[in-house]
Each structure stands twice: as structure tokens, then as C-alpha cells.
Subunit: 338 residues, 2 copies
Amino acid sequence: MGTSLKDIAETLNLSKTTVSWVLSGRADEKGISAATQQRVSRCAQRLNYRPNLLARSLNTGESGMIGLILPSISDSFYSQVAREVEMEVEEHGYSLMICSSESEPERENRMIRLFRAKQVDGLIIAPTVRSGEEIRRLVDESFPFVVFDRRFPKLDTHCVLIDNERSSYALVRRLTEDGFRRIAVITTNPHLETMDARRAGYGRALADSGIAFDESLYGEVEFAGYERNLPGVLDRIFARDEGVDGFFFTTHILALEAFRYFHDRGVDINDGYGLACIHEVPFMSVLAPGMHVARMPVGRIGRESVRMLLEDMRRRKSAGEVPPAETVELECELCFRG
Amino acid sequence: MGTSLKDIAETLNLSKTTVSWVLSGRADEKGISAATQQRVSRCAQRLNYRPNLLARSLNTGESGMIGLILPSISDSFYSQVAREVEMEVEEHGYSLMICSSESEPERENRMIRLFRAKQVDGLIIAPTVRSGEEIRRLVDESFPFVVFDRRFPKLDTHCVLIDNERSSYALVRRLTEDGFRRIAVITTNPHLETMDARRAGYGRALADSGIAFDESLYGEVEFAGYERNLPGVLDRIFARDEGVDGFFFTTHILALEAFRYFHDRGVDINDGYGLACIHEVPFMSVLAPGMHVARMPVGRIGRESVRMLLEDMRRRKSAGEVPPAETVELECELCFRG
DNA sequence: CTGAAAGCGCTTACAG
DNA sequence: CTGAAAGCGCTTACAG
């Protein structure tokens, strides 16, 4: 293919060693004469030399790559985080490989295996559902990785979360203060700790407002194909309870689909309903100007994840120790409207 | 680190060759005894062997990786294409690395260099602006790659586009048939062939409808920071021309930002204005139920790009030829509303 | 049926 | 100041 170290060495009648020293910037340190350095650099330039990073990695045992696994690459929350992670990782001289598990545990396992086979130095994962076997293996083999958005209670891993319970509490509390009494909660993936905490925050807010939890206002949407499943759930809530006057959505994707539902049925959701949602996406404020939202700190989530991962990697290398698992819980910014 | 071929070979008193044959599934072909095969597989399992793909790639000269470079990873169009590309690439036994150029030519150059240094087998790129030096180099060195969404007229590259002029024509034609006469065009990045074709379609539609092009209805938004720039452009159009009764947006991101503009000013854009836009995003139909859209065939764009790339790679390998550059122009699905 | 050997393109002690 | 040699973990002619 392209030019290799050997080509340069042969052209100049030098050893690969010397060429390698120069090109990796360790020439002065190794006391290579300025003249030789010149010759090597010039020749490399002329032959348009580009080092083969695979070969280098094979040697050093470090690929300089971080892998990022997302449940969905087109979800606005994850793609925003991806952007932050990419920037941050680059800042530290690493490069990022992104791929998507499509929320399928088996795919996630495959991706983890693939990344490891490609020798990434560390992994950042927003896990699909429960801890799959590959994640467990990461822990067992103490491979450097950080989990965000979702946590495994059973596994001791680095973890970046948001204050799910607190934010949910604050949002729903605000709805009750606005005077809404029959507030439905629309949620999904209830087995995830993250989602459970949001539902719990809703429950506590009702309780503190002296409102009894009403089973008929609980809407749980099957995650796979939630677009298709949501209308049925909402239909059922309306059928069972005509007095519903508010909605708390535990995640933006459900709120957005709900807007479509109301729109399709000609209902003006902005009129007379109290609305609240975890995570804001760009056009929510246009779709539902009165909705209270808890803004996820996407920038900090991305940056914290990278920070934790690199810090972990650094400590392993320098001290040889495996750092204890750390959990960071970031605050959402609460935006109350109207 | 982990287990290597050598470990297995030593454990079993076999050569690395034999182990390699077995583990790469070429044992029968090489006539390795069933007994030996068993022993090797068992041992690999027991030691939890995972091949180092870097080492393999260094040997074979093929990494099995395709690189995808997007202007923005959080834009819904690109992230949808990314998803399709990832699926399609995987289907063919490759894996995908995604990264974002953030619409910065220098970043794009860096990404291309990085991908090549990592020995990707091929590249799919939605280029930033004009042909950067690294893209020119891809052509010069005849590295396998496909460009989509945007094209370089000067460079002979594989290319997947949509029928920009035709779709734009049809959308604007429909607006004039709906009775709108003073239709503004809101566009950006006018130097891109893609955008120019859309503006041209607008112009031809007006002409065919017997409407003279009016400079004061032309709104060009500086791309960098378009969110901040759009309001000024719209303000100017309204200031210069009170009779404006329609908008053709050459891309979804401008339409979305315009919704925010109208919303902030308390204008109901769905009442009295003719609207049309290239590319549909999920909640457009809720935000502007009456807007005509040309749906980009994201699935086909992704799949065609992969198909062209793999086909090119295949032909190089088998025939040793460099296949001539191919351009595919895909049709948008036109959705007329109301 | 199995193995010794060379090589992919680098890096890095070690030696002089 | 520079080089010969071994090695990273694989694959693959070639030989027997």
C-alpha cells in the first residue's frame, strides 16, 4: 500500500529505529543529529508517509480509541451526548468509535465484543436493559468502562446519572401547585432503575400534595414500538378517567409521541392540561409552550463520563490499581413555564 | 492481556498454525483431525480466547471497518442515514466507525486522515463544504469512498444524491397551484450544488407559473449559527415585502427554526401561509400540518451508499480494476398536505 | 494431518 | 549518534 517506515529507512540508508525515533518526535531525546532529522522528515513528507496506527497499537498495547455504545443513535438525547463525548475525548488525544445497540441486548453484547477485539482502550455505554453477559465480563475482567443514563444496582461500575427522583418530584410538585389534581404518569421500561426513580418522584410529589395515587392514571408503554403502543395507553386513561387534567412524561420520546396523539385527535393539549417532562428537545417549547421540563445536562453527562473513564485508565496505568467504582449524580435544570 | 493463539498452542503442544486454522474455521479445508479441532475449540473456550483484530488486520491488510463521516451527528437526517448505513454494513460483515466533522473542513481532513491511519477499508462521507485536500487525496490515491448528499463537480467520485431540482420544483409548483404567489425561498450554503439545485427548482417553478422572481423574497441564511441568523433574514423579508404568503425551505433545519420564529412572534404559520420543505422530520406534521414536504429516502441513501462502496471494493479486489465513478440520483417521496 | 518460518508495520530495550 | 534484533498477535505460503 502506502509508504512504510522501512521504505524511508531504505531510501535514506538508515535503520528503521532511527526513522521511528524521528517520526515519533523522540529524536532529540535520543540524540539524533539535526541533519538526520531533517533528512528523515523531508523524505517522509516527500513519500507522503502516514503511520499505520494498527501496527503501532499492536506494539504499544494502546489503541487510543474509546468506544461509545448507544441504545439509539438517532435519539436526540443520545446523539447530543455523543457529540459531547466525541469532543471531550478528542481533547485528550483519543478518538471515538460510536455504534448503536438498537436497544437489543444481543447487539449490545456483539458491539462490546467487537470493540474489545478492536482493542479500544475504554468503553462508555448507555446500556440497553439489564446487565448482559458482556457487561458482566467487563466488570469481572476489570476492563475500564463507564455507564451513563442507566445503572446496574448489582454491578460495581463507574456511573453517570441524573437526579431522576428529585427532578421528577419537582416537576410534578409544580403541576399540583398549578392546581392540577388528576395527573397521569406516562412511562416505559419500568424495570430500569432510572425510570423507576422518575415514577417514584411522581408518587412522592402526589403524596406530599395530599393526592392519592390512582392506578387508572398510570400509563405504562411497552418500549419496543412505543410509537404504536402509546395511543392505546392514552385511550385507556381517557376511557377510565374523564377527569385527567395533567400529564407527567418520564421521557421526551413519550411526550413527543403524545403530542402527535393529541394532534391527531384534534385536542389542544396546551389548553387546560398541566404538562411536565423529563428532558427537553429542541422544539418542545414550540409544540407545548406551557410544559415544564427538566433539562438533562447533556454536556456534563458527556464530559463527566469521559473524565471518569480517562481518570480510571490513568490510575490503572500509573498506580497499577483498579480504582473503586464512582457514581456521579448530576442535577437537571428545571424550567417552569408560564 | 488476554489469551493469545500462542497460549493455546503452548497449552496443547500444537503449532500456532494449527490453532489458527481451526479458530478461523478453515480446519476442514486444511484437513485438521476432528480430535485436534475439538481440543483447540475447547481450550479456546476455556481460556476465553478472543482474537486480536488489530493483529489480524495487520496481516490481511483488511480491517473490516468502514468509516462514516457526517457534518453533524445530531442532525436527524444524518443520524437516520447513519443508522441505515450501520445496519447495511453489518449485514455484509463489516463494522462501522462513525464520526462527525462538525461542518469544519479542517476537522473533516483530520477525520479522514485518522480513519485511513486506522486502516479502514472504505469511507462514506457527507462532505462539509468544498473538496478539502484529504478528499482530493482520496481521489488521487484511488481510495474507495462514496460521497452522499453533496457532490463535487470537479471530482470524479461515487455519489448518492436526491433529485433536488425536481423535488423543489414540484413542491413550489404545488404552492402556486394552491394559489400562493409571493413565495419566499429560505436557503443556506448556496455554494453547495445541492442547495443551488433546490433554489433552481424554486426558480423554475415560479417561472412556469408565470411568476417573476423577486429578489426581496430570497432569504439566504449564513449556515454557521443559522439559529441566530434566521430571524434577521425573516425580519428583512417581512419588512421589505408585506405580501409574502408562502415559504419554501430548502432544508428541514431552516423550517424548524422558522417555526420557532413564528411561534415567538405569536404568528400562526399554519393559517394563511403556503409552506413547503425539503426533508421531513418526525414532528413536522404536528408543528405544521399543512406543509408540503419532499421526504428524503434516508433508507435508500444509506443502503445505496454502502452498496456502491462495497461493490467498488469488491471489483478492485477481484478484477484489480478501479471502477468508474458512479452517480445515483434517488427520488424523494412528495407528500402534499391538506 | 501438522509445523517451522517469514511477514504485516510498527516500537523499544540493548549494544556499540 | 546510530543499528541489529526481538516482539506485538496474528496469517499464510511452503514443506514434510
